[in-house]
């Protein structure tokens, strides 16, 4: 099976129905994507599939074949979302943050200037036990501003 992750093509030998999350982590050792619930309830395992945020714990790996998979490791450090996250020191324990960042990137790719309500609705599926929510909201607004200024 061939998988395209962060622009790199990997040839892997795995069972077809293994969830993408575990292929990324246990086989490709891209461990930035985290397990949290296995039921699409927490968002820790969020990655982009052809640019759209998905829960990798729900996707059998064969369904990701032939698609562009992007994980947290594939987002450049100078991406406005990463810059904003760093600027506001969003992470505490940090475990949910890769998923939060991937979800935020999905939001900002469709909405250049989201309101609070739009941010909350887009981020509703991503849990954070440390309570970094206030900073996530601020960071998304900052990232949106950085992205608009870039243009």
């Amino acid at each position: 099976m061939r998988l395209t992750v962060n622009g790199k093509v990997y040839s892997i030998d795995t069972r077809k129905d293994k969830k993408l999350l575990w292929v990324l982590r246990d086989e490709l050792r891209l461990t930035g994507t985290k397990y949290g619930c296995g039921k699409a309830l927490c968002g820790f395992c969020t990655v982009l599939l052809d640019g759209n945020a998905v829960r990798s714990c729900q996707i059998p790996v064969y369904m990701a074949e032939g698609k562009e998979i992007t994980t947290i490791e594939g987002i450049p450090e100078d991406h406005p979302v990463k810059i904003a996250w760093l600027e506001l020191d969003v992470p505490q324990c940090g475990y949910c943050q890769p998923g939060q960042i991937m979800q935020a990137i999905d939001l900002l790719s469709n909405n250049k200037n989201p309101t609070d309500e739009e941010i909350i609705s887009a981020m509703y599926g991503n849990l954070c036990r440390c309570g970094t929510y206030p900073r996530i909201i601020r960071a998304i607004k900052l990232a949106a501003k950085l992205m608009r200024e870039k243009k």
Partner: protein, 699 residues
């Protein structure tokens, strides 16, 4: 303090561990160009420092906070510091605890002086070595930004060039610490040193550790706590990835080469457990049992004045029963660890708050001497107390012993909840009276709850201090106070949950204060201040919280509640402003004002703000939603659908104000949580007239 030579004798070799995706590579310190200046600090020839910290980073910020303490005294640039987690060896113990353990909001308090001394001691040696290299007197030199500088000529030598010489010098017996005005990092909002790795997905948590040839493992926990495994059988077909299924002390272990398959196979195992005392009980039954026990005699925790007499005579009196459920920590990262065990050595990679307990458990299970056991602490995906337990370490080591292969024990979310170690259930009845002047005349407080310390320490307690804390030492001026504790133990494992007894007692005490204020016809803020007359720090945070939240202003369609709590040596007052939608009863939390007095020193104001925000949100989450469900004695919460925690939609605006005062240094990780719960329920009462006496609100 232990000497460098003793350290080397203890450990045999200085070993640094580097994790790589393909496995674990061990590097001998001699191979890298690191020079050990003392136990806490290595400096390389290239002038990079490695700092060893003895506390776990679970989000609370010690990775930054402790490093800053060392770097400040060392006069070293933070961007050239690498932080590592120390092994549980003698020279790294928390001097006030005697072990390596992160808990009780004590890391900065306990390590504030020792780590600055370690930095200063290293700086003293480097200064001496630098002066020698420059061929000048020590007294003519200063240190700055990782360099020794000859003041007159400006000639400088980086620490790295003299680190080898310094590493061979005798550690000074005494060191002089900087004056507060000379601090370069302490007191400043230094950015978190772990942010970048966490944002890039490069920070290594326990689940990110791999050892070549490992088996994944999980453990089926007892169907009901308080029962033992009688027998089990495995239904076929079992996936080919499963290697072994066998009983261990903690349940039934399943081992295999594919974690998903390991978890799925739980359903193939049909186990028979012995009868448990809690069979038939729902979560409401645990509460009911505690309520029933209120009428039985307990042990006196506090008896001041004559409560019985005053209550009997009082004209204005009320009573209330409050109930709180079991809570699950719900750490983002479920319990896990990776163990590599051989005949003469054990390595464990573990997100733990308790390195010494981990070491001792492994020693007991393997018979290996302590110096052959290596506890590699990873980043922790949340802790909140849960990771101070070593139940999952014991699981992993027992499994590794049996399968003779490296084992990565990894609980699914479902197993993580079933593993217990909950914040205990708690019930109390409070009776109170106010006198004709509107002051509290008497307060009678009876608690019926499990004893946390009896479970945690395996000893008997007449009155468990971790149950009555915050009530026995109630901060208000109350002439007649009686506190009684009725122990009600259940076989459900209970444990420290962020803020411990304060999560119960701030809620009950601060709710009842509002109930008494109403009985007295007084304003909740004035009423508190009058009863905090002799407590300057307490009244100050209450006053400022009232002022910053514009307590007295008219709020159309909104209401505000206040609470104050003193815990972990820190004083916190919070107000919560809410509105409640009439038709749906939905609660909107608009703003939380938090005033925190952590004592004389703020090591990092931004980290304090983060911890207050974190405590507030976890507190609101517990108040609104959290309750471990039981059905027929079985834990009936499985995942975030049946144990909901707060999502981003309820996030209020949070304003944190830090006020410093003389006195002892306070903790930060926990004290921000307790007061927000009663501040919220007090606000709900003022908005709707409905008094919340049972949590969670949405149950």
């Amino acid at each position: 303090m232990i000497t460098r030579r003793e350290f080397l004798k203890l450990t045999g070799l200085t070993i640094a561990v580097v994790s790589t995706p393909s496995g674990i590579k061990l590097l001998h310190a001699e191979e890298s160009k690191d020079y050990r200046i003392n136990a806490w600090i290595n400096i390389s020839r290239e002038n990079r420092a490695t700092v060893f910290i003895n506390k776990s980073e679970m989000g609370q910020g010690v990775y930054t906070g402790l490093t800053v303490l060392i770097a400040d005294e060392l006069d070293f640039p933070l961007e050239k510091v690498e932080v590592r987690f120390a092994q549980p060896r003698k020279e790294y113990v928390d001097p006030r605890m005697g072990v390596l353990l992160t808990g009780g909001s004590t890391s900065i308090i306990h390590m504030f002086t020792p780590l600055r001394k370690a930095g200063a001691a290293a700086r003293t040696l480097l200064l001496k070595a630098g002066a020698k290299k420059l061929g000048v007197k020590e007294s003519e030199c200063k240190t700055e930004n990782g360099k020794v500088i000859h003041i007159k000529t400006g000639r400088a030598v980086p620490y790295g060039e003299v680190a080898e010489i310094a590493s061979k010098m005798k550690l000074p017996r005494r060191v002089r610490l900087k004056k507060e005005k000379d601090w370069i990092y302490i007191g400043k909002p230094v950015k978190r040193l772990d942010s970048k790795d966490k944002i890039n997905g490069e920070a290594k948590f326990g689940t990110d550790m791999y050892v070549k040839g490992l088996f994944y493992a999980t453990v089926i926990k007892p169907e009901r706590w308080g029962s033992r495994l009688k027998s089990y059988k495995v239904e076929k077909p079992v996936p080919e990835e499963i290697v072994k299924i066998f009983p261990i002390s903690g349940g039934i272990a399943i081992c295999g080469t594919d974690v998903e398959r390991v978890w799925e196979t739980e359903k193939n195992v049909k186990a028979v457990w012995s009868k448990s005392k809690i069979k038939g009980m729902s979560d409401k039954d645990f509460i009911k049992r505690c309520i029933d026990e209120l009428s039985r005699k307990g042990n006196v925790a506090k008896n001041r004045g004559n409560v019985a007499k005053v209550l009997k005579k009082a004209r204005k009196k009320i009573e209330a029963v409050y109930t709180l459920p079991y809570l699950y920590h719900a750490t983002a990262e479920t319990m896990n660890c990776t163990v590599k065990l051989s005949k003469d050595r054990c390595d464990i990679w573990v997100p733990t708050q308790a390195q010494t307990s981990t070491l001792r458990a492994i020693k007991r299970l393997t018979g290996l001497p302590e110096e052959r056991i290596f506890v590699h602490t990873t980043f922790l995906g949340g802790g909140f107390g849960r990771r101070a337990a070593v139940d999952f370490v014991i699981d992993a080591v027992e499994i590794a012993k049996k399968v003779k292969r490296p084992v990565k024990l990894f609980y699914s979310r479902e197993t993580d909840i079933k593993s217990g170690y909950f914040r205990p259930v708690h019930v109390c009845k409070i009776e109170g009276a106010v006198d004709d002047e509107g002051n509290i005349a008497a307060w009678k407080h009876k608690i019926a709850a499990p004893s946390l310390l009896e479970f945690a320490r395996g000893k008997k307690y007449r009155v468990d201090p971790e149950v009555v804390r915050g009530v026995r030492n109630i901060p208000y001026d109350i002439p007649n106070l009686y506190v009684e504790y009725r122990k009600v133990n259940f076989p459900v494992p209970i444990w420290y949950w962020r803020s411990v007894a304060s999560t119960h007692n701030a809620f009950t005490v601060e709710s009842f204060i509002d109930e008494l204020a109403e009985l007295a016809g007084r304003d909740p803020v004035d009423f508190r201040l009058d009863h905090l007359f002799s407590n300057v720090r307490a009244s100050r945070v209450v006053e400022i919280a009232a002022e910053k939240s514009e307590w007295s202003k008219h709020r159309y369609g909104k209401a505000i509640g206040i609470a104050f709590h003193h815990s972990f040596r820190t004083y916190v007052a919070q107000t919560v402003e809410i509105s409640v939608e009439d038709k749906t009863n939905e609660i909107f939390i608009h703003r939380v004002v938090c005033v925190v007095d952590p004592g004389p020193i703020t090591v990092n104001p931004e980290l304090i703000r983060m911890q207050m925000e974190s405590g507030i949100i976890m507190g609101l989450s517990s108040a609104l939603y959290e309750r471990v469900r039981f059905n027929d004695g079985r834990i009936n919460s499985d995942n975030f659908d049946t144990y909901p925690i707060m999502r981003i939609d309820k996030t209020p605006k949070i304003d944190v104000y830090i006020v410093n005062s003389k006195g002892v240094m306070g903790g930060i990780g926990e004290p921000g949580l307790p007061p927000v719960i009663p501040a919220l329920t007090n606000a709900i009462y003022r908005a709707t007239g409905k008094r919340i006496r049972s949590l969670p609100i949405y149950s």
